[in-house]
Symmetry: C3
Subunit: 325 residues, 3 copies
């Protein structure tokens, strides 16, 4: 396939392929083309964010080489996506404005820390055949935001609000914005909240696997419904923040870690709802001290679904070593 | 025994037996008669709470069947007690009043989520031969209360106070109320704070095992003493809330997971004190954001005691597979 | 060696050796002489603290004998250092003043609880060949401070502030105090903040292993740098509180759990920075409810480094059973 073909390319080109593969890993894909589309989407939304993301992937991959991680893991892009998410989120939360070059320092350090965490968590999770997923990203970004409180003189950032916080002047729901929020939910996986780039990211998912793309939209819709059912802030629904955990959970169960069947499809939708409610809970918890809930909910719920022993789901489980990669 | 006899009954009656067994599991028993007494106690205390509890058990058992859990586990009532506790606690914390029928929706969903957690946690805890116990209940109820903050428009609930919060006009201790609190501590295992039903629940424990009942009262007394030693709110002592974690811990070590001996009896009392102090700590921690400490303390401390390697306690340990069930 | 020689001494003297070994375990040493020097340093800094520390070691060791822990573990001092740290920290945080004799009660109970936690955590951590380290101390002290809130009538204590809290009237940095803070960082491992005793503790480390002492100072310096880079409170830098997590992490990786090489030396310095940043994060998190970050950061980061699978560090890993003890 592509892999043997790539091996004969010049090193610089090979590096680009590994890099783009790392980018595509965030949406659970493993495809340089999807990665290129996503990077284009991010650069379209904000060139500074695109740069930050790219730096994150590179810092993370380089650290993996330095600490002697398995080469196959590096070329498969497994040591890039956590670092990318960390540096993207650092950029989004930074209140120092775009092109604040000092931010590259914590971005690189945070991305490097992700690789340490990836390497350290894998033997623990391996015991139950669980993937490391985005645990490193979620841990590092929360630690970063805790180290640099909102009023930090060097690295200030915006505090997050609980999604359940009462709204002073709540207006009626705007259905168009609600529908748009469902598609923004896919973009929010990369902390991107413009419609065009979000649709391009959805396209990158579609390119890798139409099933994944379908589940991403379904999951985001489920997240929006869950948010409506407990009256979260409208802003959270419109921006897609209510949807992206559901989208991630739905994609993992519906098209990645389990073979497709009507049963696993139903489980994927149940997972999307579960992810969304847990995300609301985490947002209300972490929001009390100004922290975002990131993708903790999707990560923990998918880990739980992978552990289920009931025959209804466990029979469709694909061993981690054989997950399309 | 009863089991082979039951197998010839009509299905509806069998279902009732499984259901009542699930109810009795909360007090670590496995006896339909104890379950019936407890259900009667709950209905006596509040018909709405009794209904909620019953719905929780059923939703949890049904989910277990749907996701294909082992049939033997279902008939033993292992997939009911967590769901029951979740729906009971949802009812107790709800500030929408009794007979608020919409509450059945989160009660069913929460009870279903318990079964998912039970199924997912068991392979992790199995590694160290540990029971899942009430981890699912504790996780789900905390998440539910986080999702629906006190001021939620659909599912409002009362916030919890830290037990160590200073009392504005502290009066002298009332010994009679203190003694009553010890017995209420047994009822509080089911979130029940009336004396009559609490004594009936103690009776249900006595019916299953006098040793368990003795340890329940001893543990609740130890919890009250622990509360006195660090000056918790009087209300917490009088209502039995200071005692129920001690009661649970004492029952688990004194009469369930370890063979009875003077040594394990002493350990049971030590466990009761440990549970109570940890419960006070958790209540002071979670209370700062309005959350209750539930039975986290008892669950974690008993898990710790089951892990002890010291010969003093480990030699009396009964393997989980052989615990009277 | 010394061990066979000690076995012929009278029991009282043997007990003293075990006791002093337990004291030296806090700085990762295993040497009665280092232990004696440390005890002298603590008594010099504050006789009351010295007494508390000694009581903590004894209560912890006695509990280990009572619950039937392995005799070899007790004589090696493994069941003493956690208890010592708990009682020392209880003394430091107590706002009831020195020689408040009632404090011996929680000190003994807390030290005993450490032994329970040590025994219970070891089978869990053993699965990944990880040491129990100071997990028990960190858990027990946080629980104690939660049980007795600052305004407790019997056991009042000082609340902790987040290190990142903005300073009203920040003055310029004092270089002399900053340098002194680096050495105080070694003393802060025992919650000691006077220069003389801190240097004596550094001497005790030097006596056991010059490499350890070097890494202790290097780690403390790294911690101070990390603190400067995110503008923590000057008081935290001057008192050595910013340095001690870095010192602990640097000692563990540079001279205890890994064989010395240039690579592990570089990793030790990286670990020191990682520990320090994580410590700042934890301090900002726990400080919001008045709790200190203790040595959670060093404990968790070192555990992570021991789990790393990358060949760069994993090849130097010494199995826990063979760590110099």
């Amino acid at each position: 396939g592509l892999d043997t073909y790539v091996r004969e390319w010049p090193f610089a080109l090979q590096l680009v392929v590994w890099f783009l593969r790392g980018v595509s890993r965030v949406i659970l894909a493993n495809n340089p083309l999807s990665g290129a589309l996503i990077l284009a989407a991010l650069l379209w939304a904000s060139p500074w964010q695109g740069l930050l993301g790219a730096v994150g992937v590179l810092a993370s991959m380089l650290t993996a080489v330095l600490i002697g991680q398995d080469g196959a893991e590096v070329t498969a892009g497994l040591h890039g996506y956590n670092g990318m998410l960390v540096s993207l989120l650092m950029g989004v939360f930074s209140s120092a404005g775009d092109w604040y070059w000092w931010l590259l320092l914590p971005a690189c350090l945070g991305a490097a820390a992700c690789t340490f965490l990836y390497s350290g968590l894998s033997p623990v999770l391996d015991r139950w055949d669980l993937p490391v997923a985005v645990f490193p990203f979620n841990i590092v970004i929360v630690l970063y935001l805790l180290v640099t409180r909102p009023d930090n003189p060097y690295f200030p950032h915006y505090p997050s609000l609980p999604v359940g916080a009462l709204q002073a002047n709540a207006t009626e729901l705007n259905t168009a914005q609600l529908l748009q929020g469902i598609f923004l939910g896919v973009g929010q996986i990369f902390a991107c909240d413009s419609l065009g780039p979000s649709l391009l990211i959805l396209g990158a998912t579609l390119l890798y696997s139409p099933l994944q793309a379908l589940h991403a939209v379904l999951g985001s819709a489920a997240g929006t419904l869950a948010g409506l059912s407990v009256a979260v802030r409208h802003g959270s629904l419109y921006s897609g923040l209510s949807g992206f955990n559901g989208a991630l959970g739905c994609m993992c169960v519906g098209g990645l870690f389990f073979t497709f069947s009507w049963r696993s499809h139903l489980f994927a939708i149940a997972t999307a709802f579960l992810c969304s409610y847990v995300d609301i809970a985490f947002s209300n918890l972490l929001g009390t001290i100004g922290l975002p809930a990131c993708s903790w909910a999707a990560t923990l719920v998918v880990t739980l679904m992978l552990l289920l022993t009931g025959r209804g789901l466990a029979t469709y489980r694909i061993p981690i070593g054989q997950v399309r990669s």
